[in-house]
Amino acid sequence: MKKLLVFLALPVLAQQLDTGKRIFESQCALCHGPDGSGGRGPNLRKAKLKNAPDEDVLKKVIVDGIPPEMPGAWQLHPAEVTATAAYVRSLGKLVVEEIAGVPAAGENVFANAGCVACHIVNGKGIANGPELSAIGSRRNAKHLRESITAPNSFLPDGFQILEVTDAAGRISKGVKANEDLFTIQLTLSDGRHASFQKASLKGLRRITGQSTMPAFNSLAAIDLDNLVAYLVSLKGAE
């Protein structure tokens, strides 16, 4: 009797995974990658997911999202949510990608190639670019490699460089930190914070599609491999 149940359950499971895969590819893949290995969103090909320790939480994350970055798929039918969750778990059983480099060697590259001038890792560095202490839990190797060699290809949605001319004609340039209808906040290239009333400005130029990070495409292949391996190893406090 038990055997028969298992036999019956299998096709149902396969069908469920199929449904889950279909939904994943249409709704989740944009950020988590078509194969779940991450991109703008974290790699999901892991046995343990930080924000989804059990099935109920995973389903809740799928439905509600994680504000502000992850939108919820609240429109899914509960059966579809279950199917999507099952598919996400099946990704965790897949073989983890092979990474060529050596993390310890990559740490030296990180220190010597100038990365610390803009990124903080475990409390060290300057916060001009994004904090990287847990970047390995959010981005996969392929994404990180491309971000290093072609930073403009993965700008966060809404990323803008601002050139602000104040009433006295002084020009400030920096990355937009926030904005409302009447005010705008930016982080200047030396890390200082600045805030302006829009009505008081003489000029406000928005530069989109451009990162402040230079493209590191002259790194030796082995250094790049090592650097990527180092970044992938940065998992933050787990």
Binding site: S26, Q27, L76, A79, D157, E179, D180, L181, F182
Partner: protein, 521 residues
Amino acid sequence: MKRVLLLISSIAIAQVPYERIRDAAKEPGNWLTYSGNYQGHRHSPLAEITPANVSGLKVKWAYQFPGGRNQTTPIVVDGVMYITSPNRAAALDAKTGRELWTWERPVPKDYQSIGFGRVNRGPAILDDKLFVATLDCYLVALDLKTGQQRWETKVEDYKPGYSMTLAPLAIKGKVLVGVSGGEAGIRGFIDAYDAASGQRSWRFFTIPAPGEPGNETWAGDSWKTGAGSTWVTGSYDPELNLVYWGVGNPGPDWNGDSRKGDNLYTCSFVALDGDTGKLKWHFQFTPHDTHDWDSAHVPMLVDAPVNGKVRKLIVNPNRNGFYYALDRVTGEFIAGRAYARQTWAKGLDDKGRPIVIPGTDPTEEGNLTWPALNGATIWYSPSYSPKTNLVYVATREVGATYFKRAAEFKPGTFFAGGGERQIPASEQWGAIRALEPATGKMAWEYKLLSAPWAGVLSTAGGLVFSGSNEGNIFALDGKTGKPLWNFHSGGAVASNPISFSIDGRQHVALPADKVLYVFGL
């Protein structure tokens, strides 16, 4: 003996009789019904705050709601403000914000909001009672003075997905409500209850049963799960004794395969006799909708010249991206045009029916269409100012890829048949737009950084108030759209502003996230 009689008669005097609400313009210092008047104008006749002095507007007091983001429109009468949050009401001293009483009703553990947030959009007032619609689908009457419950009436069973989030509409002797549940395959309705007893006076089903006109617009048994929710407060014309109400999307939302036909009266305005609930006319904005474009809007009743002759109009900037002006006596289409980006129709024909572009329905692979499911505007209120003769609407400029999926009906579960993925946030935007009432032609716009979730208030002082997702509460010049004043509230604004007086001084109130701010000069 005389004394006793006097006492009895003073008790029997209704505090807010129907006539006071009908003649709301005569007491501009109070805000007596959801939209400020029965005509759905959300316009304050107060004129103390003007473009010249609005820069001096300051916070006078704030009130912190329990729970999440608040969407209440307060009622203000004779120095007291009445507010709600889900299954909760309170009376506040309008001068200080201090609580006078509170009332709460537990939300059942197995209650679920299917396809919408746990919110409440405000109370209604009539005679000596305050009326509150609850998530678990009860209409409750509270004593104005004490908050004691006077009666409760079960409107529908919440378990299959019926719920209420709206402010009731109180007309002569009756309290009207509509229901949420458009993503649960309900059969929607508009109900009227006797204000004194809580007994139901009439019910109008938004989906006609077999044998009733309109049922032929539903294939097979699809009418049974046709949705047609009624989740936003309607308007009322006391002279015509007609109630006007917006009807929501058909179910399942994004997969129309099982419900071939126009699906009346979804995505429509209906005009009902106030005494009987009998249908006088209907106008369907989006026949056979597959994008979740509810017409759950506050109808605005405006008298405006059309070809040189003043006509009784009902006007609506619709979720589907088009603006409509109809004759409110007959429902006849007068004029319409797109007021926001839309990519699903070539325009409207001479009856006001959209000329749908083939291939714009949701598909398995996804189909990019404007507007997104939350529409070019949504539940929050537009405003009409008789002073500027303009309609103001917070407009959403968002497109989305719509997906079609299988839909299987099980009572009390999500019955939607698909969904959407919006364009990136950085490409979304919004605007406060001023439109000419008889045509929908744009007079001006004030651009917003993101698609808004807050309604607008116009005032006789010549201002338009609203709020942004970024937390700004702001005032614009009603004639030009120029920004004149701003307060950073610290929370996203997802509600509707009102205006009222305290000791003869004009105030403006608007919740931002879970804080109600009250401003004055």
